[in-house]
């Protein structure tokens, strides 16, 4: 059995990986942007964002605009590092699978 790095369980989930991938490419994004691009339900997305935020992978700012609540998400340095090692682990996995 070839050994490979374990995939970060926090990122190895469809919606959380999608959120982190989106945030890797932008400076910051509002909740509505993430919802639109992932097609997730607000409730589910909210739960996953909290998980990522608790892990320190993303930072979440709650603001108000025109008296409406506004959630702005941004990836953290820890999140970037986690994403990069996740991609590296994926590469290892695919390489081993191919050989």
């Amino acid at each position: 059995m070839p050994s490979f790095r374990e995939l970060d369980p926090l990122l190895h989930s469809e919606l959380r990986l999608a959120v982190v991938s989106l945030l890797m490419n932008v400076k910051e994004a509002e909740f509505t942007f993430l919802k639109e691009k992932t097609g997730a339900t607000a409730g589910n997305l909210s739960v996953q964002i909290t998980k990522l935020s608790d892990a320190g992978y993303i930072s979440v700012k709650k603001q108000f605009r025109d008296n409406k609540p506004l959630t702005v998400c941004k990836i953290t340095a820890a999140g970037v590092k986690a994403f990069e090692s996740y991609v590296e682990a994926l590469k290892d996995y695919l390489k081993i699978n191919r050989s």
């Binding site: 995939l7 190895h12 989930s13 469809e14 919606l15 959380r16 990986l17 999608a18 991938s21 989106l22 890797m24 490419n25 932008v26 400076k27 910051e28 994004a29 509002e30 509505t32 942007f33 639109e36 691009k37 992932t38 097609g39 997730a40 589910n44 739960v47 996953q48 605009r65 025109d66 996740y86 991609v87 994926l90 996995y93 695919l94 699978n97």
Partner: protein, 196 residues
């Protein structure tokens, strides 16, 4: 999409899809280029005509500039309200045009020191920087070409009397702002229709 675990291949595919989703976002509708392009074009040509008519109030058309500034502020506020994402390009553009505005203000405020004959060539140098860099970042060649045109017209205008510098300025904003502005708008409308 939900929180189910995925296969490694699916992981790669998903990352790729999300990169694509942020890449196709085109936020540049050309409004600012058209606004300032037309305002400066009208102001410079009006001043040229008024000088030919030997009017003492030939600088009057530049009163359009504060109007442009007010429209710009209102437009930017509205834009940032409807924007749900801020990309690194958006952030960079904010810094670039902010720096351009500050530099332009310094040059225009120093007309007395620089001399009237040197002011517009300096303004054109600044136009060149902001336009060329914007074109490079947006990967939009007409703007890059416009930036180069500003630099060429800056050199040319150093050898021209003041009233003909106004024509160089008019040509510069036509090539660097008005034409790319319409092309950007066309591209933007096309992208919106395609649902990008």
């Amino acid at each position: 999409m939900n929180d189910k675990t995925i296969s490694e291949q699916e992981g790669f595919l998903l990352i790729q899809q999300m990169i694509q989703a942020t890449k196709t976002r085109i936020s540049e509708d050309g409004f600012m280029y058209l606004l300032w392009g037309w305002l400066v074009l009208i102001a410079s040509l009006t001043q040229f005509v008024l000088i030919q008519m030997q009017s003492n109030y030939n600088g009057l058309a530049w009163l359009l500039m504060p109007v442009g500034a007010v429209i710009s502020v209102v437009y930017s506020r509205r834009q940032s309200k409807s924007q749900t994402v801020r990309t690194y390009v958006d952030e960079f553009m904010g810094y670039l045009w902010g720096a351009f505005g500050a530099s332009l203000f310094i040059v225009l405020a120093s007309t007395a020191k620089l001399g009237l004959a040197s002011t517009y060539p300096m303004v054109l140098v600044l136009y060149g920087i902001a336009t060329f860099v914007s074109g490079g970042v947006l990967k939009f060649r007409p703007l890059m070409f416009g930036g180069v045109a500003c630099w060429v017209l800056s050199i040319v205008s150093m050898f021209l009397p003041f009233e003909f510098q106004l024509l160089a300025l008019a040509a510069a904003v036509l090539i660097a702002y008005v034409i790319p502005g319409y092309l950007l708008r066309q591209q933007y409308k096309h992208a919106v229709v395609q649902g990008a």
